[in-house]
């Protein structure tokens, strides 16, 4: 039983990484209605920017704020420059655009900062948290930050006019336009916010997985899986999905014999698909009824 409890705790600790990323995934899904494959690379690039700022002598939290602001602006710029012209193109063409963006950011980051693995500082320290060896203060801090972002997002969407406008633009663009909402800019804003959330996720994840251009590859896959599991329409679901995926993954590795690191991912994904077959809108998502 103690092994079980420990594994669950360790699962929550890794799950926090996925929850962070899943939150960014849901954010962009809310704004543009599909998954952005370049999300992880955007977060990675932001993390490198913050690392560079710290190398230039800016203290951690200063770099943190600057990076979030930079990512927000960059997210909007990417939408305006690259994806607004594609708004009328088929969805699959947009997906190809995400893959192109992925290749560009990955390659440019590799050229600027090369592919060697770098240490990344944490503001929370890495001593054991509350005397437990399985969860460090950094991981506890990461869970705290994720939950904080979740609460902020909730208040933003519930109680601000811009939040309301974004929800309107996402659910019924035409009616939203009729009441005077600039839906095109709402999409740009969604990109900006997703990039900003992604940058926070990147800066939280980097101390755990270390900083390098391919650091987000695995994390993004789990982030997608977490978001889909929790329900793509619900930020709360995404965070819960993140923790659940983390726990799943750890328990599978512990209790099913012969599962090495390599089979963890396929088995976790298979479990998620099983859940989806039973509950197609995800655990916390709302079902979408289509009109014929």
């Amino acid at each position: 039983m103690e092994l079980f409890a420990n594994q669950v705790l360790a699962g929550i600790a890794t799950g926090a990484i996925y929850a962070c990323m899943a939150l960014a995934v849901v954010m962009i899904y809310q704004a543009i209605d599909h998954l952005n494959f370049a999300q992880g690379e955007m977060a990675m690039f932001s993390t490198f920017v913050s690392w560079q700022l710290m190398q230039w002598g800016i203290p951690y939290w200063g770099a943190f704020v600057l990076t979030v602001a930079f990512s927000f602006a960059a997210g909007i710029a990417i939408e305006r420059l690259l994806f607004k012209p594609l708004a009328k193109a088929p969805i699959l063409t947009n997906v190809a655009g995400f893959i192109a963006l992925y290749a560009i950011i990955n390659s440019v980051a590799g050229l600027i900062w090369d592919f060697t693995i770098k240490q990344y500082p944490t503001p929370f320290g890495s001593s054991p948290f509350l005397g437990s060896q399985l969860i460090s203060t950094h991981q506890a801090g990461m869970i705290g930050i994720t939950l904080l972002m979740l609460v902020m997002l909730f208040f933003f969407f519930r109680f601000t006019r811009v939040g309301l406008a974004m929800r309107a633009a996402a659910s019924l663009p035409e009616s939203a336009r009729l009441v005077g909402i600039n839906t095109s800019w709402m999409i740009a804003l969604g990109w900006g916010m997703a990039a900003a959330i992604g940058s926070v996720a990147g800066m939280m994840i980097a101390p755990v997985v270390f900083l390098e251009p391919n650091m987000m590859l695995g994390v993004l896959i789990y982030g997608f899986a977490a978001a889909v599991l929790g329900g793509l329409t619900s930020p709360f679901g995404a965070v819960m999905g993140g923790f659940l995926v983390g726990i799943f993954e750890n328990l599978v590795g512990t209790y099913i014999p012969g599962v090495g690191n390599e089979l963890k991912l396929p088995i976790a994904l298979a479990l998620i698909i099983t859940v989806l077959v039973v509950k197609p809108a995800g655990l916390f998502g709302r079902p979408i009824v289509k009109r014929v």
Partner: protein
């Protein structure tokens, strides 16, 4: 984030391509065919090998096109079917000693069954969810092939080496009358071309048949299709099966051409490449498959020749250029060209 159910009137994710717009005219087809037959006579062996790969990937893109452009289902798992086809051929050739040409139909049938079965749970999923499910299949496949349990057959991490077939003796004898010889590469190219043409014709006919119309009805509106009496579940899984079967044949051909199968040759990267090939060629336009395949084979090389360090960025920029200029892929180019020719004829 209300908890109320939303009612959304959604356009189908994949555009409706009328079935006549899915193929080339007869004259144009003959010209393309003539080019494909004549080119290998004038180029070096390495380029012939690349052209063979071009045809093989074109087949795999065609298979994805039938699934996505035809029945409206996404798949990021094509690399898994390709891998199963490749391994089936390789194992039959190396362990059983079967003739390479005979292994292809078996690879196709095995993959058809595999795809058909995979289509069953996929029935409940669509859009991003289906993308995730197929993605899971693609990531699982290399790991499954590495498992110690199958190692006797699959060769584990090391993979299997496949012998390249010679041209049949009859053909070699005929060529020697003209003081020429048929290299292995050249023979394999023509062999692939023949298989490819057969599959292309079969696919065109499939899409024009009753089943093809059922696919397209499902793509355009699933509920309306079922109301008209289309067995949605059957045709959706059938589309998966057919697509997987063709991909399997392509995989088998690929194994013979590369002379080697190993788990790491069939990762998610391959599935993404095939997806890009489909978009560049035009979703739902079968002849576009060969254009898309050319894009995924040659453009990375071109990008590398620009700059080694930035090859990824150059590839990305080129891809952006293509989708900015022609968001509907090569199909758009073909339509514009057709209209131009139509105008010229009128004048």
């Amino acid at each position: 984030m209300s908890t109320a159910e939303d009612i959304v009137t959604e356009a189908p994710a994949v555009e409706a391509v009328p079935k006549r717009a899915m193929t080339l005219g007869f004259g144009t087809s003959l010209v393309v065919l003539a080019v494909l037959i004549l080119v290998p006579l004038f180029v070096k062996n390495f380029i012939i090998f690349q052209l063979t790969m071009l045809l093989i990937y074109a087949l795999a893109v065609l298979a994805l096109n039938i699934l996505t452009g035809g029945s409206g289902q996404f798949s990021l798992g094509q690399s898994a079917f390709y891998a199963v086809g490749a391994y089936t051929s390789a194992i039959l050739m190396e362990h059983v000693g079967m003739n390479y040409a005979l292994t292809l139909p078996i690879a196709g049938i095995v993959c058809f069954g595999f795809g058909f079965l995979f289509g069953q749970p996929a029935l409940r999923l669509s859009g991003v969810y289906l993308a995730l499910a197929t993605f899971a299949l693609a990531t699982a496949m290399p790991q499954l092939l590495k498992l110690g349990y199958f190692e006797h057959w699959t060769g584990g991490v090391q993979g299997l080496v496949v012998t390249k077939p010679d041209a049949p003796e009859l053909l070699q004898a005929m060529a020697s009358w003209f003081h020429k010889s048929i290299s292995q590469d050249m023979w394999l190219y023509y062999f692939t071309l023949a298989v490819g043409i057969a599959i292309y014709i079969a696919s065109v006919n499939l899409l024009r048949s009753r089943s093809g119309r059922a696919f397209m009805a499902i793509r355009d509106n699933e509920i309306a299709a079922s109301a008209m009496g289309v067995d949605v579940a059957l045709y959706k899984t059938l589309a998966f099966g057919v697509s997987a079967g063709i991909t399997g044949v392509a995989g088998g051909l690929g194994a013979i051409a590369v002379q080697f199968v190993a788990p790491d040759g069939y990762t998610i990267t391959l599935a993404i490449q095939l997806f890009l090939g489909m978009v560049v060629g035009g979703v739902g336009w079968l002849p576009g498959s060969i254009v898309g395949s050319a894009f995924i084979i040659f453009v990375p090389n071109i990008a590398e020749s620009f700059s080694k360090g930035l090859s990824g960025a150059v590839f990305g920029v080129l891809l952006f250029l293509v989708i900015f200029l022609v968001p509907h892929g090569a199909r758009q180019v073909a339509i514009v060209a057709q209209q131009l020719i139509g105008k010229l004829k009128k004048n």
